[in-house]
Amino acid sequence: MRRIIAVVMAVSLLAALGLWLLPAQAQQPAAPPTWKQGQPSSLADSTLAPIPQPPAPMKAGDIPVDKLKAPPGFKVELWAAEINNARAMTWGDKGTLFVSSRVAGNVYAVVDKGGSREVKVIAKGLNLPNGVAFKDGTLYIAEISRISKMEGIEDKLDSPPQMVTVYDTLPKDLPHGWKYLAFGPDGKLYFNIGAPCNICLPPDTHANISRVGTDGTGFEYWAHGVRNSVGFDWHPVTKELYFSMHARDWLGNDSPSDRLDYAPKKGMHFGFPFCHQGDTLDPELGKGKHCNDYVKPILKTGPHVAGNGVMFYTGAMFPAEYKNRILLAQRGSWNRNEKTGYRVMMVTLSGNGKVAKYEPFVQGWLQGQEIWGRPVYTTQMKDGSVLISDDYAGAIYRVSYSK
């Protein structure tokens, strides 16, 4: 928390630089809340604000799953419900689905009982535990400033073992401090350390994707200039990293675009906070900078769409052309007058880091300007069907295909 303060002070100082020369008696305004930071005076009357997370999930019977539309031949059904704030998903070796949450503070185990699913809370009261990853019988959980593990959890779902810290030398900032967590092809845990602000010059320790070994050693930064990425995956063939990134707010309805990025090697810089969407300098922090000095997105996914989960499809159930396509779950906008996102998109690559096609896969959470759900992550089932988590309705849907 001390670190939050240092950063907030630094941010407010930056914002106030222009006020240095005012008479001493003038009171400087304090830093606004993070979500409002960077709002220009021309938008001071805007009523846009982040969409609050409901405290309770929707009842299974109230979920309008029939509104979800997928391409011909695909079926979308409700797979599990009443999982408050359901977000990231990872499979245990024995078929348990582990599900994270953010503000609900819970980690869940979902046990498939054939026709129905049983949901158990295996950890509660955690600090925004968005990241879950599983390997060799052990569940890893990422909170704001701690990665911990539960060994042998699948045999102890009703009396979960103590969480043992793996790595906690991490910033304590809450803004963009929640983590996506996944195992890379090198067997290391990858996670994001987001910028602690909407827009600011972040400390060197922030705005990156990092990795560390499961024994807590070998920490290093993998990608820089990443405002916040809460979704990534590795190409099934090339084993190279692809990730989603949320762009800054308060630059208008249609700019800047969120992005899909490609980081085949360590040490690349993706532009934040100087250059947005690969070609647009930040009005303040971009002064004197050049967008060509930074890595450009492989795809502009659209302004404010909030791309979260990134997953390569590798299953055998969907038609052959779906293999190695990226499913990108977009949680949807708040900082835009007309809502956008709230859908799962599909990206077809034509080569390493090259996009051939970008099209909707599942949509319908947004009806007119009303939302009833927010898709956050996807995961694949053994049979090749795909699960989609929805943190707003607290539900998981299954997408299957038959000819």
Binding site: M1, I4, I5, V8, M9, Q27, P29, A30, A31, P32, P33, T34, K36, A49, P52, Q53, P54, P55, A56, N84, V103, A104, G105, N106, K124, G125, D173, L174, P175
Partner: protein, 162 residues
């Protein structure tokens, strides 16, 4: 439910240090109950009560209190402090989440007319980084406040009426 003993039959408490719940937004009360139950927010009185609440209980309680009409507390507000506190609410952007009359919204607490002792306790807790906070916003907001400013803010807020 034993809630009324401390919070009043209609959510308007009279015991100094105990918050009024009348008029609190449903999301706010519901989230606080969740945090008492899972241990993120701790209180000698509240933690044991919340431990046995079901999700539906929490939703019903939150809806009940949101429907009650809030009345200002009897806690006396010092006019000089309140005047200074008003300026502070502007400088510290309180209305951007708590709304212009500090009446709260969604997951954000109603503050107007709340008990003075309770407001002081909470603000001091946020400043000390010991108060439970859903997303860190209040902890950050309280950091620049001096002890004197916290007093002034609390007096202004406690004296607000719709």
């Amino acid at each position: 439910m034993p809630c009324a003993a401390c919070h009043g039959p209609d959510g308007n408490a009279t015991i100094p240090g105990t918050p009024s719940l009348a008029g609190q937004p449903t999301f706010f009360t519901h989230w606080q109950l969740i945090k008492f139950r899972d241990g993120r927010r701790k209180d000698e009185q509240m933690s044991p009560f919340a431990a046995n609440l079901t999700d539906d209980d929490m939703g019903d309680l939150a809806a009940f209190y949101a429907a009650q009409t809030p009345r200002p507390r009897a806690s006396a507000a010092d006019p000089a402090r309140a005047a200074a506190g008003r300026e502070l609410t502007l400088r510290h952007h309180c209305a951007s989440c708590h709304m212009p009359k500090l009446q709260g919204q969604k997951q954000v607490a109603r503050l107007a007319g709340q008990d003075l002792t309770y407001l002081l306790k909470l603000l001091r807790g946020f400043k000390a980084q010991t108060a439970s906070d859903l997303d860190g916003t209040m902890t950050m907001a309280a950091q620049p406040l001096t002890a004197e400013e916290i007093e002034n803010l609390a007096h202004y807020i406690a004296g607000l009426t719709d």
